[in-house]
Amino acid sequence: MKKAFLLVVVLFMLVAIPATVFLAGRNSELRKRAAPATSLSLTPATINKKAGDVFSVEVTIDTGPNQVVAAELHLVFDPTKLEAQTITNGSLFPNILASGIVDRGTASITVGAANAAKPVTGTGATAVVKFKALDKTDAPVSIRFAANTFVGSLGEGSNNVLTGTTPASVTITGTGGIGGGPATPSGTLTQTTPTPTIPAGQIPKTTPTLTPTLLTPTPTVSASQSGQATSAAVLITTPTKDTNVAQATPTISGKATPGARVTITIYSTPQTVVVTADASGNWSYTPTTPLDPGPHNVIATATDPSGSTQTTTTSFVVSQGATQSAQPVSGTVENTYVLITIAILLLISGAVVPMVIH
């Protein structure tokens, strides 16, 4: 009897263990698929304007299943063809958390839901950007999202839940109201095509004509263009997730497609840098500015030579009292004054003292 009971228990365990593993794995897979499902697009997606025209572009969010609390938007575009005049919040996000900045080739703003009890769900306007068409384009130019665009959602921890972005394509013809005609009211722009999320792996038809001069302040043009990001093509291997690091300048390293440009943004005091994966696909970066003790998040976005992008994130904690790598310490203004003064005195003594003596 005892033997039979033992046999039943063993058999039960043999069935239960793989079943549990399978179910847990499936739940995990479901979650993996459900979490990263928010996308941003620009509306209209295709714009035809004359030089001098002023027009609005709406940043539209589709939150998917996420409960979005905030979105940090960074747009990049060709500053020789377009000038951003203003950026403000859209109707879905009543809070401007960090004021809009328009600069040469960039526009950014951080917007938030009313409060955490009323997160944003659904589809609607995140922000509205007003542009001026500057010059005729030979081919359409794009307005797109920079890699450090971030969307935060309740229940998703520090993950960037943004997985897909859709740029806008702008064609500017030669003549128009140069000098700034009245702004075209929002919503009356010609929308020549709908703005679908681009299917996985498909590169948008927008010609990527951006030049490196567009990259300030974020030194990258690698807007996330994939409709469905996969984390397979870019990996962060160190630091591993949620570990404590003893160095204030920890080396962040990983793998990507050989030759891919990897944009690394450290979210604490934001630092963004672009590195290139070597022939073996390895890349690494050591922050030049020591990180403060406490938690830090890293977002790495790889743009492979074909132009497609993938994003992955990790987080780690810099321990209290972490050591800093040896770094040169710059002098102070006061030191400079003293050195200049000593130099002047030496010059004077070199000229005057011999004169006086002789």
Binding site: Q85, A98, T110, A116, P295, Q320, S349, V353
Partner: protein, 469 residues
Amino acid sequence: MTNFLEQNTSPKLTTIVSTLALLAFLPLLLFGVYQAVIIVSRATGTPANIVIDATNVLEPIRTDFYHAFAQGGEESKDMLSPVVNEVRALNPQLIRLDHLYDHYDVVGRSGNDLTFNFSKLDSAVDTVLATGAKPLLALSFMPSAIARGGKIIDPPNNWDEWSLVVQRTIEHYSGKSGKNLNGIYYEVWNEPDLDQFGSWKLSGDKNYLTLYRYAATGASRAQNVNYFLLGGPATTGLYQNWILALVLSGNRLDFLSWHSYLSDPKRFNDDQRNLISWLLPYPNYTLIPKLITEFGFTGNKSAGYGSMYAAAHTAATIRQLISGRPTYAFSFQPVDGPNQGASGDGWGLITHEDNGKKKKPRYFVYNFLDSMAGNRLALSGEGTWVTGFSTIQNGTIRVMLTNFDSGGNHVETVPITWSNLEPGTYTYRERFLLGRDVTLKETVTGNSLIKQVYMPSQSVAILELTRQP
């Protein structure tokens, strides 16, 4: 000269005299170089060339967030009582009180038990309520009855007693059977990082996180209370490690607070931007209220607080926070402490009653700026010294300009262009804070109007443009 020296002095003496002369001139030379650098750096700023697009309407702005004030504790009494009418006229939304437990004799001891007497603090809170504001109560400092060695900046002998103090305070003011106040902010301590207030750290014996944790425990034990908010860390500046330590501490955290004494108004915008970037990875905390519970251009007493300097600094700071701002920014402080100079070098907006309760220029800036209510309009061309913003409400376009020079007396004549106007006749009003107020008629035949406005040093102006029917 050379012959005379050669004949009458030894070469050694000449060398010594020359060296001494050079050394004597050294401070003068240093000072000269320093001044030259200041002059050169000041001259490198950009003058403003303001352009307002009358058709580019942006988000609505809030004009209540700067109607918040923090009263310090230079006297152990209800300091606002003598100026309650003057403070009420400021339309305050929130008034912060600190020194709760060392100035108002709240906590005592009878044997092993603590005793509580809120009568003196109640008077101060009632004065705040009489101004039309709600109190923000900074839970500071440690009651001497429970503090280690009786020192009010040290930890208590028994942390549970600190929890009890916080619990009883919340029950008294937010309790439905107490003062029955709703939506009260309770801020844990005041400037914990400052030596004067205990030099608390984020670890060790004087760990702010421990202080906060036991305060949160007390808050959680408060019974039969209305909605209230608990937060901190009320540090002397916005420090990432303090903010994130509190966020990650796992304690109840309903709002974040810090103090900002910054001469450069643009740094208030930088702080807001930094804070949001730190909080974005923590979605549960990204949207909680953020309070600058004290701000000014310096934490030291200064004659600037008695002049237009402070008014212009406040206006320039509000401009920096008009889009992307904290929930409230508390000006420090409504009324001077005693024994201040007649020039008004205390932090107050109003001089102490011993100095006649005189209103300083900064007092007038808050209500002056309220007329800017409306939707923000696109404004470009701000300069190094002259900054501003524009709004539109009921067809009237307003432009707030301030010329704030933190280190000197810069003056500027500013070109202002209103573009995309409808042709017609407009009423143009130009009024300066505590200065001229003129109204003119302007005819716009094209679609723009250009004016030149002289901005004296440390000045604040509002320009209004209304199309006549």
